[in-house]
Amino acid sequence: MRHHLNTIYVTSEDAWLRKDGANIVVEVAGAERGRVPLHMVGGVVCFARPGASPAVMAACAEAGIALSFLTPEGRFLARVEGPRTGNVLLRRTQYRLADDAVRVVPIVRGIVTAKAANQRTVLRRALRDHGERMGGDAKTALEAAEARLANVARRAAEAEGVAILRGIEGEAAHVYFGVFDRMIQGDRAAFSFNGRSRRPPLDRVNALMSFLYALLGHDCRAALEGVGFDPQVGFLHADRPGRASLALDLMEELRPVLADRLALTLINRGQLKARDFKLDEGGAVSLADDGRKAVLVAWQDRKKRELRHPFLGEAMPMGLIPHIQALLLSRHLRGDLDGYPAFIWK
């Protein structure tokens, strides 16, 4: 069994990573700020501008540690790929499948079904936790959306073509984001959600979601590379230069579970305040330094939480789910499974 290893998030903008013996050392302005043995690290996400030494890059590549560089705002810049990533046979199968409109259906069906089902679970949990305190309007709207998503998920499980499934996915997003704002409690003035905006995020909820999706995207991409996939060739998402389409595919079913639910918790428990965000003159909203740190700590904690995997039936930390799903997808492509057992959260 693969262990869930910690991911190091380097958030100081002027940090520099280097290797010392079998350790990763984080330096800021020439002073050592942290030191971790390589064998305890599963990934490194570096938001710093100076970067990392070639020696630490080589050590990460050799040890299978995913090392990614993001801008301080969280936009993906680059990652280090070593000689051990990738498997040409799996990639060829992946490419053939991506071009085959019939054989791709069982995968896309799994992803869309699980996504709608997991969005529904987010609504159900909000109703369970806060239903009593909600206004009658909000409760009714959430109950109606929940029932609709149950129906959408069932139709997805029966769908026979990718085009239909893409339509169903759009419908699920419409229903879910249509009531997302109703799940937000507490400081309503600071946190209101008016539809999904990404480029740029136009409110604090969207800024938080985008940041969490960037973290999840990094984990999904690393998980896919870890089992030998090409993260750029997807099944639900069409190829687009520079886009990690397969990582986006894998994220779909996991977004409600790992990211959306955490966003709601952080807001509703008051763990994030209005001042944890920056608003720029053009209307773009992003996390401020302290807010970003609070989100990263919560993200790490959440990944350590155990749950029971629906297909394997064993308990595991949430952080391992992207890896297990990537593995199950590869077992489907290699012929062990006649479909992709997507992650359905209950």
Binding site: M1, R2, N87, L89, L90, P106, R109, G110, T113, A114, A117, A150, A153, R154, A157, E158, V227, G228, P310, F311, L312, G313, L327, R331, H332, R334, G335, D336, L337, D338, G339, Y340, P341, A342, I344
Partner: protein, 212 residues
């Protein structure tokens, strides 16, 4: 030493590692996961084995009581389609004598003997002399076991080498079978023999997950 001329590049390309034979004997699926799918996972046992071999291979040639020992000698046989590395080869006169180091103890199955036999047959082809004997050294018992490279062992080695090469050439991964040995397999986390041995029809499974 005489080295035959290199054959055509295709034959050289098709050589598979001697270690693949042992993987294949233990479990053909494990062999395919390692040599076809290129999955690898280190656990305590594989790390110990690797360190042991790094120590053994790292040694310099020495000569004791007239026997010259070469460590980490590169091996190959075009007849078997194998390439690899010998832990140690002693030269008794002009006759090579392979010695393979094992971490554990002697086992009920013949995997270790087969690996030694493959090495012996590589040495025969490379040096064009008969290699009638070799030895296995076990770390736990610290004892040396002499192995006769007889006809029966040679036939088994030829057969397993051919099966292994065919499987790797076809890039085929056999379906999982849950066995007692799976508990000791470092690849169990990637192989998942239990849930994948008789997996449900995924479409029905998916629909069933949607129930309350």
């Amino acid at each position: 030493m005489k080295t035959p001329p290199p054959p055509d590049p295709a034959a050289e390309d098709a050589l598979v590692p001697v270690s693949a034979l042992q993987h294949y004997l233990f479990c053909p699926r494990q062999c395919a996961l390692i040599h076809v799918e290129r999955l690898w996972a280190e656990d305590g046992a594989t790390a110990e084995g690797r360190l042991l071999h790094e120590r053994v291979d790292g040694g310099k040639p020495d000569r004791r009581r007239g026997v010259r020992t070469v460590r980490g000698l590169l091996l190959r046989s075009y007849a078997l389609g194998l390439a690899g590395k010998a832990d140690a080869v002693e030269f008794h006169g002009t006759t090579p004598y392979p010695v393979e180091y094992k971490r554990g103890r002697p086992k009920a199955h013949r995997a270790d003997e087969l690996q030694l036999c493959a090495q012996a047959m590589c040495l025969e082809e490379m040096f064009a002399v008969p290699v009638p004997e070799g030895a296995l050294f076990y770390g736990q018992t610290k004892k040396r076991h002499v192995v006769a490279i007889d006809d029966e062992l040679r036939m088994l080695t030829r057969r397993i080498a051919a099966e292994t090469r065919t499987m790797i050439a076809e890039a085929r991964t056999p379906p999982p079978r849950f066995m007692p040995g799976c508990r000791h397999c470092s690849l169990a986390g990637q192989c998942r023999p239990k849930p994948l041995e008789k997996p449900p029809a995924i479409r029905r499974w998916l629909t069933a997950q949607l129930g309350d």
